[in-house]
Symmetry: C2
Subunit: 819 residues, 2 copies
Amino acid sequence: MPESTPQPGGVPSGDAPSGGELPREVLSGEELAALDAHWRAANYLSVGQIYLMGNPLLREPLKPEHIKPRLLGHWGTSPGLNLVHTHLNRVIRRHGTDALCVWGPGHGGPAVLANSWLEGSYSETYPDVSRDEAGMARLFRQFSFPGGVPSHVAPETPGSIHEGGELGYSLAHAYGAAFDNPDLLVACVIGDGEAETGPLAASWHSGSFLDPVHDGAVLPVLHLNGYKIANPTVLARLPEAELDELLRGYGYDPLHVSGDDPTLVHQAMASAMDTAVTRIRHIQRTARTGAAPGGSSAPGGTGARPRWPVIVLRTPKGWTGPAEVDGVPVEGTWRSHQVPLPGVREDPAHRRQLEEWLRSYRPEELFDEHGAPRDRVLACVPDGERRLGSTRHANGGLLVRELPLPPLERFAVAVERRGATRHEPTRVLGDLLRAVMSATADRRDFRLVGPDETASNRLQAVYGASGKAWQERVLPVDEHLDRHGRVMEILSEHTCQGWLEGYLLTGRHGLFSCYEAFVHIVDSMVNQHIKWLKTARALPWRAPVASLNYLLTSHVWRQDHNGFSHQDPGFVDHVLNKSPEVVRVYLPPDANTLLSVADHVLRSRDYVNVVVAGKQPCFDWLSLDEARAHCARGAGVWEWAGTEDGTREPDVVLACAGDVPTQEVLAAAALLRRHLPELAVRVVNVVDMTRLMPREEHPHGMPDREYDALFTRDRPVVFAYHGYPWLVHRLAYRRAGHPHLHVRGYKEMGTTTTPFDMVVRNDLDRYRLVMDVIDRVPGLAPRAVAVRQAMADVRTRHHAWIREHGTDLPEVADWTWEG
Amino acid sequence: MPESTPQPGGVPSGDAPSGGELPREVLSGEELAALDAHWRAANYLSVGQIYLMGNPLLREPLKPEHIKPRLLGHWGTSPGLNLVHTHLNRVIRRHGTDALCVWGPGHGGPAVLANSWLEGSYSETYPDVSRDEAGMARLFRQFSFPGGVPSHVAPETPGSIHEGGELGYSLAHAYGAAFDNPDLLVACVIGDGEAETGPLAASWHSGSFLDPVHDGAVLPVLHLNGYKIANPTVLARLPEAELDELLRGYGYDPLHVSGDDPTLVHQAMASAMDTAVTRIRHIQRTARTGAAPGGSSAPGGTGARPRWPVIVLRTPKGWTGPAEVDGVPVEGTWRSHQVPLPGVREDPAHRRQLEEWLRSYRPEELFDEHGAPRDRVLACVPDGERRLGSTRHANGGLLVRELPLPPLERFAVAVERRGATRHEPTRVLGDLLRAVMSATADRRDFRLVGPDETASNRLQAVYGASGKAWQERVLPVDEHLDRHGRVMEILSEHTCQGWLEGYLLTGRHGLFSCYEAFVHIVDSMVNQHIKWLKTARALPWRAPVASLNYLLTSHVWRQDHNGFSHQDPGFVDHVLNKSPEVVRVYLPPDANTLLSVADHVLRSRDYVNVVVAGKQPCFDWLSLDEARAHCARGAGVWEWAGTEDGTREPDVVLACAGDVPTQEVLAAAALLRRHLPELAVRVVNVVDMTRLMPREEHPHGMPDREYDALFTRDRPVVFAYHGYPWLVHRLAYRRAGHPHLHVRGYKEMGTTTTPFDMVVRNDLDRYRLVMDVIDRVPGLAPRAVAVRQAMADVRTRHHAWIREHGTDLPEVADWTWEG
């Protein structure tokens, strides 16, 4: 064990914001005994879940048949989580606080489940797991058992908004939950393994964005138990003074609790918790009465950000578990990470050791003859929705309200003649977002997040209704910084994503705008969120939450400034690998379709919506009414762009998805009409990519009949797609017409160059598309050979021109649609 | 501008490891003038690249035709980078140091190119860009111009190992370059925007892993210019004391330099650089002479990690650029991020302002009548390979040596009878890696990285040849920690990936072992590395480097402890979207094939190799010789597993890729042989996934003839694939037999359950595969209906059994292949 005496930190309780020393004995003997009983009960139940499938109260000596055949789960972190839960119970009761806890070391599922069962939340959510001996048996058996509950904290866990399987996101989730929840205390246990991850490290700086007036408080508890799976942790091995500096450097005021003597640790932890809550209240009171920094809303205010408390809890890994197993140390080492006694079913000595371990918690003192927790055990437990397993904040769908979306007519661009005007679609969307921001000014349940790109993505109209959240110094030259802002900008996609997930899962709304290429930074996070939603949707007690909406812009085709490193349209491919009931992908081709799609996704629930749209001037193709109808269908024929006259089947289908491909397809259609007027050309635009999938594979998938009516069963289809071309094949391979499908898209031919050169390099340009058509339609007039050559000639001319002039050919730069 | 006077930091020069005050005037008048001239020249050249396509020396007043038609690039960070480069030149010369610099704010491409041209490295690499007026004109014109060079630091940039487009990885790259390069100083400029990212934040802790004996030094220069694209940066706005605490908490000893008066900043910067280099030498000398902490190789040593210096450089963004443009402040604000004067081609006032700006550097003092830099400008420039643009360490292919790989026979498992024995493939690989570690003990050019999972992934044999790198406290209970270890474990996939990239690009070898699901954490990093390799391969002066090799294990089918959150096989899909000449994907089905694949990838150059292999006991199917032959083909018929007798065509092909799918397919083949012996079954195993692709799309792609010979053109193919099933369709959709291809794989039906239940949930189990065959082969005997029902019955039985017992059906658990 790393330490043997508690070392209360260096600051006083009371209203003083910082400095001094923690009081050592804040608990009476009875209080201490009750807290310890609760902790022991939780520890007992944690061990029981990992090992037992019978004899939960040890009414008889343990036999092999009481032991699960497969021992799965994580003990090491559980006693620490149980300690934190016990003491959170105490301060919630004592201070009358609404609280939520994010369990970073969520692999300690047994601990959180144990506490939820103790406080009754679990049995209220799952009545078959009652708070008695039968329920305890069920609680034990179901854990990590086929058909039972996962080994981690998960959507199935009452009170949770955070799956603990992938480490790094707890603190960002906690801040997301705290934003615009002024009366909520969000505790967040951070494992010392998790603390090594990049996303966690970045999220410490979230305090620079937390408004003490309108936001709640986050209380991080950095739990140093010293070891990961197989290694010591960096933070636990730093010299203590250095760790203290690190946390102060992150902007916090650390309270240190450490030891392995439960009595002393209980006193120190109670004292640290009281001090933390008192300081938080002091900061909030000061800010909210306008008496101090943070209370002023003047953007030029120079008030300092408050220093929020953080608790550093240093206790042994696997504390109270077997000190040694088979002659090697286990408690206080990495060996206690999962299942400290592996052989209990087969090995009587191990089984005896397990039984001693379980009995060391004195279960007879903790549970009555029916298996229910005794009163003393429950003395610290808060009431009703104050219980961590019962807070509505962890079931955000119960709290979410309809977002007040204004009529789109106010923002739509007028389309008198198709393609006659151009707008920057995201700028048009910015006006809509500004209105949403305005409409939620009092409710404060909408946030826009992005990595320093809101203006770059041309959404800056939103600043007219809310500035950018910022608690650090403000200089006179700064613009739009706002201590109470709801636009969130930090150059960390991870933090943006984590904040937004926490905000949504606690019942609010939001949008994440991101450069298309760099959203891959959060690939793994969105995986976890999709998995969360998939699981949550199947739980009747979880109410639907607002969707996680991405606006991906500054996309692959327009990286004029940045080139190859900023070109990657593969996020769509990534999310489409995931559960089809959760994921939606939209590629609106112009400003009005973007408005319609945005309106749709902002109203939706329980989805991850990916919207890809450009920020550069883009031709306006559809009126708002047409856009709505087109988006409702998700894919449709643009009769006006082809040669449709209702009398004949097309010779070829030109399909497109995405703003730049749509422009190229329309230009190609115009070229074909001019040069090969006898050719029957159909133009199909796809907004909702999942419509291409079979009905059986995605709820939006078109029936074959509809697909065939759109794309034909036997005519060549030349499809210009925004991203990697094979994605379209992967979606459409079961369709009858698939053998005739030819897809163009981005194929990693990227660099810093002009917009048109980008499409030429990737064979997505209008001239290439015309050539593709000529190559595929049988029986064309002999003239087609010359037309094809003319197209190839323009491409050759392009290459020479661009190297000479650095700009696009005038006929391309000045091109407009002639309807 | 944020500051107006320089504030030299709080520590002395000389050998003292820390504390005291920086000397204020270390430069003589002439030295200062020469450094300033170099800096001005670099600034002039940076501005020239952004704006000019003619008149590079301003021999006549600027006219519109001298200005590029599209103004692209980033000015804001450039003067700061130029300052750092100038002063690095000085210390390299003065201290006779081998150095490399990683430019985190790599969007400042103009700065790095300017310095490279000044020192002559650029013209030596690209002789057409000579160090004279014509070359300067070319340097300017080519920048961010179609057919020219990218706007960021990139593979095309001499001296670079780091593409600056995606922020966050500079410091990890720098540490990777420093490992096992004891005489190298790796400077690393970190932008204050970049410093907000998670990966960067985590990588500060790399000092806990840097061995002062065998590794070189990293000198981070945190460049606070105050703003990102549109926002202030968090670190620049922290109270200075808090930032100092943060860096101390990260384990460094900060040296502060700030100001906007060039003379004062030059003095302060020279002093800080001298102090930093002196301290680094002191730390290294002490460690290497065994006189102090870090010098002891005893794993139990308690020596403290040294505190390495970091320079905090605070200068205005866009320093020396236009103070105001059109009445708003630009220098010292975010407005100088890209192109401070946007309208110079059209607007004479802007053009005049640009000319004044360029002339403010007094180009006539800097360049002679031929346009070559004058002697004074070059006074600080080091010689030959000491120049940052000419160091061989930045062109690692020049340094890389053949990895000494031992004969595989020493590690191969004996296969007397197929499927009669089982081995954990990664454990077998661990023995090979141990031998590689041993063979490189003196050369020190091989490292194994992983996020705390080396032992979990069963590679721990490697500890027999090298412990785990660790510079923090060591406790008696710890195992395998080693101050000089080359196994790297930190719970940050980002840091692991960054370290390895830096290590490989400087000419060494390595392997990244990772849980399959969590490698998505580095999706975006691997994107950038693949893009780097693609570009580098096309540059004749860049020599090939060792491949980046992933071992993905603890895979989707065996997440017994962790369940759904740990299940994602999509990394393969992600990399297969990238440049086919760079990416390779292998799924060895047993221990010997894993050995053969590992041997191959460790010898390869300039690839990203993804190897997916299990750590759980797996049947041994192939002898080493067979494995080699099979891996060389990449895909082949396993005659012994099917009913091949050379006389008849198969009725059905059972294909498989991956260890678990292979087992299920072999079990299905055995069931078919028993129950439908008249059916001609072919078993095909695929190791190299890219063989399925068309020849035109991937260099490993099979010709159609070969594909057809393997899979037939018209027989049903039931393909059991390790990952998402549609990937196989996406690879094979052009093949003649594609309409008959039916793929099973992972479809997000995940949870904590038994191994066999996982395959049942995803319809990949042997019984389902047999049913698939029966459903697809026409004209089967009527008995097939009963066989199909029997298979369905086992699946039903499975569901009941598992809920009751929590284990797999005995007939599955005890199954072995009967050859």
